[in-house]
């Protein structure tokens, strides 16, 4: 029994030392961001005073009812957008496949918005009504991914361009529809247009956070084991099949898991751009392109960055709050430009 750990190290294509070092650094970054985000805000609370068993009931309420669900939601949404970006880029074999850019998030937003408008106001207050939101978000995301797949298939070598053009079109159409919905609807639940376009974690509650975290964590748990097969897909679908990958099964699994992650994330926090694009690329620059390393690192980095971005959005112009999407886009859009220039040089 003693020998197994040693031999197992040599049994399979595992991540290397450098990569596991980066993974532990990213975990630390995540935990640090989590603690910082819980204790800071418009009302700073020292973590030590809580650990000592703070007697202040206002502090307790702020931490448990307001800040903790908010920070946890940003953590789950960041992780889900990070890993979905990595997985979709892998599946489409396309470095620009970001859930926001290619319209998947927009599809989820439209699904959720339609659910709000259709549901009778009484129902939307109840738990079932609230749960229907993420479910219709999942459906919206699913429809867009399947649509993108079937449309870009026929374009062969030009699929990168067409994927992005499709994304532009879908984003524009959804923008119009959500805009119309928010103006004609009297339902206060439909929130504001900025919620859907810029995102926000301010509405986080425990009732929705619990099912959302279960859905997101189990999807991430199902995505991480696809790493080996995602690596093989980079050789092309035919080569992956020759190496024993059931490509159709892999696609279905990834598409469904991504739709769940993105659908739930968008329904709860709106469209937050560029995390899915930037995070996997930073992770690749840090430690390489193998999905065995990339998938866990993209989830950790996504969670850490999202928690930090939300913290910045809360404290930068106290006591006001910036939409979190503004922060992520401010970091992400220059990065997007840099990627395009880099692609031109490499001629993907």
């Amino acid at each position: 029994m003693n020998e197994i750990p040693i031999s197992r190290e040599r049994t399979s294509v595992a991540i290397n030392k450098n990569q596991s070092l980066i993974l532990s650094f990213l975990s630390m970054f995540c935990i640090f961001a989590l603690l910082a985000a819980i204790s800071n805000g418009s009302y700073p609370i020292s973590l030590f005073s809580i650990l000592k068993g703070g007697e202040d009931s206002i502090q307790k309420t702020i931490i448990i009812d307001i800040r903790l669900p908010r920070v946890l939601l940003s953590c789950f949404v960041g992780a889900s957008l990070g890993i979905c970006g990595a997985v979709l880029q892998g599946l489409f074999r396309n470095p620009l496949a970001d859930p926001g850019l290619i319209g998947v998030s927009a599809g989820a937003a439209l699904g959720a918005a339609i659910a709000i408008v259709i549901l009778p106001p009484g129902l939307s207050e109840s738990l079932t009504g609230q749960l229907l939101l993420p479910i219709s978000g999942i459906l919206g995301a699913l429809i867009v991914i399947v649509l993108l797949f079937s449309v870009t298939k026929g374009f062969g070598g030009h699929s990168t361009t067409y994927l992005l053009l499709m994304g532009v079109a879908i984003n524009a159409i959804v923008g119009v529809l959500i805009g119309v919905l928010t103006y004609i609807s009297t339902n206060t639940e439909l929130r504001t247009l900025t919620f859907w376009t810029m995102g926000s974690f301010s509405g986080a509650t425990w009732t929705l956070l619990l099912p959302a975290s279960v859905a997101i964590m189990s999807s991430i748990g199902l995505l991480i084991p696809t790493a080996k097969n995602l690596n093989l897909i980079q050789l092309g679908e035919i080569e992956a099949y020759r190496l024993g990958v059931n490509v159709q099964k892999l696609k279905t699994r990834i598409i469904v898991c991504c739709a769940i992650c993105i659908g739930v994330s968008v329904a709860l926090s709106g469209i937050i751009g560029f995390i899915g694009l930037v995070v996997p690329h930073i992770a690749r620059l840090l430690g390489g392109v193998s999905h065995k390393y990339l998938l866990p690192s993209a989830s950790l980095l996504g969670a850490g960055i999202m928690i930090s971005a939300d913290l910045i959005s809360r404290i930068i112009i106290e006591p006001m709050e910036l939409p979190v999407g503004l922060i992520t886009s401010a970091i992400g859009s220059p990065f997007f430009l840099w990627l395009i220039f880099r692609m031109r040089k490499h001629d993907y």
Binding site: S7, R8, V13, Q234, L235, G288, S290
Partner: protein, 257 residues
Amino acid sequence: MTIKSHGISLLINGEKIISHLDLEIIPGEITAILGPNGAGKSTALKILAGDIQPSYGDVKYNNINLSEISIVERARLRSVMSQSQTVAFDFTTLEIIEMGWIHENNESYSFSYSDALEEIINICDLHSLLLRRFNTLSGGEQKRVNFARILLQLWIPKTDNYSRYLLLDEPFTNLDIFHELKMLKIIKSYLSKNIGILIVLHDLNVARKLADNVTLMRDGRTIRQGPTDEVFQEDLLSKTFNTCVKVNDTSPKITFF
């Protein structure tokens, strides 16, 4: 124990790409497919690999219909080398070779992983390329790396010895003479490992040196099939390739005009 195709035809949009093709890959033997451009050689190889479903006829691995063999099992039985290989993202050469290791979930093989990898890298002499980015390699170097990957896919420990098959689509293009000769040697050495080889070739001289059996194709049809010396007749080759071909008994054995 063979890979056998029986009477396969392939229709695409009503056009016959392959018609009534019989092929056989036998462990310990090399079968070559020869023919002019567009004869359907690569398509035939893809049908045998299971990439494409034939419109008529069937493909059998070890007497079992291909459709009844799982995708994972097929990968254990045969590996395929394409004419060219593109890879999305900057994988290192080592990572590309490692992709050929399909026994990750197989307990009895998994302990041999580093031995297998080392053996293949030694055979193919790829030490100097291992940490380079695959996409920055030259066409010939990429070919050598892919060759190593498909050899790793068929690697089994010495205690095990079931029949396996290598399907190679023009493996020597882009290779310099040194590496071509080297790959030829490796291919021949694999015949003794209970491996059967199908090879699509353009170089008639190489084919005559290498192959035990030859299938001559043109326009999706079989022109002639049989032992190499029987197929290598001047009039047959000249007609098939639309070129005057002379078969000599001295070196070089085949000359063109």
